[in-house]
């Protein structure tokens, strides 16, 4: 038997820590770093879904996280390349 | 609270599984008006915007290009249909989904234009629309957690607990943001400075009707 509660609370904490890091963590002035930090929060949410046994939602979340990251990186890169100040 | 006190007598229902659409004089009126407008949009041409040119005597004609026209017409017709659907839906989550769809379509209708100010307000509005997913879906699911149902017919018979009120407040905030009423009006109003009058009218129409409908739904849920 594994402790579902342990993973659940850890997931919540990870999500909160991740979102704190995304919001005010070190070096988040760089959009790349900020996007990285959202990954932590999303892994936390994955753990929450796992402990709720929402496994299909978990699969979808994992897949979409990758794609969202891809989209955000693309936007960041293009904006830097254009020299736009946003 | 019953449907009857708000929108008049129940004229009929359309059961689609757990989602039951219902028709009252109010929703029928809104539905028909939206369909009429959608039809008009589908057959309309766009106008030419005439503007004075700086430092010259001539005018500038701002027109909608053919490609842009097709794209925007398609999106506005879908937006009209979606708002018409939102008028008769009888399910809380279904309604929030319609709102999300209308939000993304509103952005889409103005996204094809060239004016940077319009694009800027479309972007800002898009940010609000994305943030609105939390109050809308979250509010609906808090109501679900508290009452155990999403159907308006069942919800209208239940008393309101503080939790339901909180969910309804969240939903109200989402609706206010998504339909761009004061004090959040600026991001949406600035989108209307682009040519293409038949298309932008549906943006305005859908948001106003969504407010009317949201009033009904919130009253149903709360009382």
């Amino acid at each position: 038997m594994i402790s579902v509660q342990l993973f659940f609370y850890f997931g919540i904490i990870l999500a909160i820590v991740g979102s704190l890091a995304t919001a005010w963590g070190p070096g988040v002035k760089d959009p790349i770093v900020r996007t990285f930090n959202t990954e932590i929060a999303s892994i936390g949410v994955c753990l929450v879904l796992l402990s709720y046994n929402h496994v299909l939602a978990l699969l979808t979340l994992v897949a979409t996280t990758v794609v969202i990251t891809l989209i955000l990186f693309r936007a960041i890169i293009r904006l830097e390349e254009m020299g736009a100040d946003v | 609270m019953d449907f009857v006190t708000l929108g008049g007598n129940l004229l009929g229902t359309i059961p689609l599984g757990d989602i039951v659409l219902y028709i009252t004089p109010l929703s029928l009126f809104l539905f028909i008006v939206l369909l009429v407008f959608t039809l008009l949009i589908a057959i309309s041409k766009t106008e030419t915007q005439v503007e004075a040119t700086l430092m010259k005597l001539s005018n500038t004609n701002v027109k909608v290009g053919k490609k842009e026209f097709k794209q925007r017409r398609f999106l506005s017709v879908i937006c009209g249909i979606a708002s018409a659907g939102a008028m008769i839906t009888g399910d809380l989550f279904n309604f929030t989904l319609f709102m999300a769809l209308i939000g993304i379509l509103n952005i889409g209708i103005v996204s094809a234009v060239k004016q940077t100010t319009v694009l800027n307000s479309a972007y800002q509005y898009g940010l609000i629309a994305m943030m609105c997913s939390l109050p809308l879906f979250g509010g609906a699911s808090i109501i679900l957690a508290s009452t155990g149902t999403l159907s308006l017919a069942v919800l209208s018979q239940m008393p309101a607990t503080p939790m339901v009120v909180f969910g309804a407040v969240l939903m109200l905030l989402g609706i206010l943001g998504e339909s761009g009423v004061a004090p959040f009006f600026a991001s949406k109003a600035e989108m209307f400075r682009t040519p293409g009058s038949p298309f932008i009218v549906i943006i305005h129409l859908s948001s106003l009707f969504i407010i009317v409908r949201a009033v009904e739904i919130l009253l149903l849920v709360l009382w």
Partner: protein, 193 residues
């Protein structure tokens, strides 16, 4: 006349998302003081976490009872009278899914999300209209994005034109330099002679 200034600030599109976010944050934090509890009387209930996988069921977290194609599973829908075949879809497995379920007890998720899963029951059968909407949202967003990408942000025809022009320019410059060089050389030669 301070209130006038505040009102003018509200008319700037850039402040609006931030204002909205601020209002949202305030309401969310007020939510901490609202008494909240989950109503146990819910639709489409599921067993407690890890119960089914500990029991070693082959289609673990999504087994809702019933015999394939014979007996409906246990599903609690809002309006059962609107869905005649309720529970039958959970009792159905595609041949591929049956084969996978005979191999290992640890592939329940995959099996039940393939055609005939519980999620299909909820997504397509009882709440199919939601699915239509959600996938419409997806489709519209992609239409918008791909239209913009094809027609504007990724339009490579202009850049090709630019590149050609630049190439021509540089060729012209090179030619001019060459001509100038030859002229100079000719002059030099003449002077030398």
């Amino acid at each position: 006349m301070k209130i006038g200034k505040i009102w003018n600030k509200l008319a700037d599109p850039k402040t609006v998302p931030r204002l909205f976010a601020f209002c949202l944050g305030i309401i969310l934090i007020l939510g901490l003081f609202v008494p909240m509890a989950l109503n146990p009387d819910q639709l489409y209930t599921r067993p407690a976490p890890q119960v089914q996988i500990d029991d070693g069921l082959p289609i673990a977290p999504y087994d809702r009872g019933g015999v394939v194609l014979k007996e409906p599973g246990i599903i609690k829908a809002q309006f059962p009278e609107n869905s005649k075949e309720l529970g039958m879809i959970t009792g159905y497995m595609s041949p591929l899914a049956e084969w996978v379920s005979s191999i290992s007890p640890y592939f329940g998720t995959s099996i039940y999300s393939s055609p005939g899963g519980l999620i299909d029951e909820v997504l397509y059968y009882t709440r199919g209209f939601d699915t239509i909407l959600e996938s419409s949202i997806l489709m519209m967003a992609f239409i918008i994005a791909s239209w913009l990408a094809i027609n504007y942000t990724m339009d490579r025809r202009d850049i090709e034109k630019d590149l050609k022009k630049a190439a021509n320019d540089s060729a012209n410059v090179a030619r001019e330099i060459k001509i100038n060089d030859e002229k100079a050389r000719a002059k030099q030669l003449r002077r030398d002679n």
